[in-house]
């Protein structure tokens, strides 16, 4: 059994990435995947956001048992609240996705947090610290920490373990409202063990960033020093708790 909390459709090639997601779920036994649709731009326009969320919604309707939607939002846009409420309300999406358009601790995100808490859904935050090639407003663990401390009742997923566990994990250690996924293309042997040592297994979710390297994430769970109970917690129990399934 496997619940993947982090998957994508790419709006530039929606059919191909949708098919890759379905093929992955079928081949590797994924029971549920939380999908957001992204454009390959840092600052999507209102129209791009609407298109992206429309693609997610269409995918949800195509495979309602398998696909749950995450509303992709650019909090710097003046009309983001209406789009977010539409996604979480009428379209029944399960959470919010924040990517590159602003640091996640920017004051503009406070309104996103308020709406997410009102709808009782978590926020998935891209956090990725790179020594080179950092994007202009790309969040890292310290940004997630500030948002989490400002909104202790907001349920947060910090994606990718912040990319560099040694930068991010200690930042969010004292924030029990932050869970993490280990999606992304970096699959160091010790990342998961280090994370669990510092924040415990109950705050770790399986997220793959599919259609990127799904099997790497699967391998990391298989390779980590875990009991069967701990492995099940990561693979689906923690997600059930977070999303109130």
């Amino acid at each position: 059994m496997l619940i993947d909390v982090h998957g994508h459709i790419w709006a530039e090639k929606p059919e191909e990435s949708r098919d890759d997601v379905l093929r992955t779920c079928e081949r590797y036994g994924v029971r549920m995947v939380f999908i957001s649709t992204l454009f390959g731009v840092d600052m999507p326009t209102s129209e791009e956001i609407r298109t992206a969320n429309g693609l997610t919604w269409a995918f949800m309707r195509l495979r309602p048992e398998l696909v749950k939607g995450m509303a992709y939002i650019n909090p710097t846009l003046p009309d983001f609240e209406a789009e977010l409420r539409e996604c979480l309300g009428a379209r029944g999406m399960s959470g919010v996705k924040l990517w590159l358009s602003t640091y996640c601790d920017d004051p503009a995100v406070d309104a996103v947090a308020a709406i997410a808490m009102a709808y009782d859904v978590p926020v998935l935050i891209h956090a990725f610290y790179k020594a080179n090639g950092q994007r202009k407003t790309e969040s890292r663990g310290s940004n997630v920490q500030k948002l989490a401390e400002r909104h202790p009742n907001l349920r947060i997923i910090m994606a990718h373990l912040g990319a560099n566990v040694y930068d991010a994990i200690k930042c969010i250690k004292g924030c029990p409202n932050v869970m993490v996924d280990f999606s992304g293309s970096i699959y160091r042997r010790d990342d998961l063990d280090y994370t669990i040592r510092h924040i415990g297994v109950e705050r770790v979710l399986f997220g793959s960033d599919m259609p990127s390297g799904f099997v790497n994430c699967l391998g990391q769970v298989a390779g980590a020093a875990l009991t069967e109970e701990e492995r099940n917690a990561i693979m689906f129990e923690n997600a059930k708790r977070l999303f109130k399934l």
Partner: protein, 274 residues
Amino acid sequence: MIFSEFSPQKTRRKHGAAAPLSAGFFDVSAFTGNWPFWKLGQPNMSQLEYAHTRNGVTGGVVSRLDSIFYNDPAEGDEELAAELPAGYLLALSHNPVLPYAREEIRENRLGAAELRLYPSYHPYRLTDPCCISCCREAARAGLVIHIVAKINDIRLDYLWRQQMPAADEIVQLARTVEEGSFILSGFTLSELAGHASKFAPLNNLFLDMAYSGDLLFGYEKIPALFPIERLVFGTYFPILCMESSTMALEMAGLSDDDKDMIGYQNAARLFILT
């Protein structure tokens, strides 16, 4: 909805290959030793051997991570040679800028099977005369020449920035030392895609798949980029996760024959395994 327990082994059997690789895996890029940038969970030879056994890997080529950062890499290589179990081959971690590097490669007193180069950490270019002469010496001594283009993901290099060798340098070295056999490690499939037309025609260049996990269904995509008979299986353990490497090949949508070629047979040909 009913959620049952997750078992990686069951998942491997259910969704992976119809049968395990007939000869097991052979790991062309294994390491032991300490790493300066984080505390490795499994740095010892015995831990590498255990992880290999657990994952169906029957042997490999191993170098010592400490050697990369020693002023005289031989100090680390000697320790590794003394503890290398049967089924494993030694890789020398030489630094071509050292004035005695060429001589030690010629002597090969530790009985190594491979010369492992780390141009992203050591101060030379692959096209420098010192590197070319060491590679020629290695080829004469029958050593495979392994270019480790990077070890750590360069996005994580906030303490020490690796300088990955340029693709053109790799091509030039492989052409200049045409009598040598090369393995190239450290390229993701996304990175490889940009250089495939340069690398693919080099008949003496093998590609280690250890860093290939960045693309979903990567193994299915790579035959369009690079000849399958020159792909070799590596894990980068204990830097990277061994299970990620083995499961990626086991569970790929390739024929069992193709998996066997990549997992073992191509390396067996290269290292003349019996």
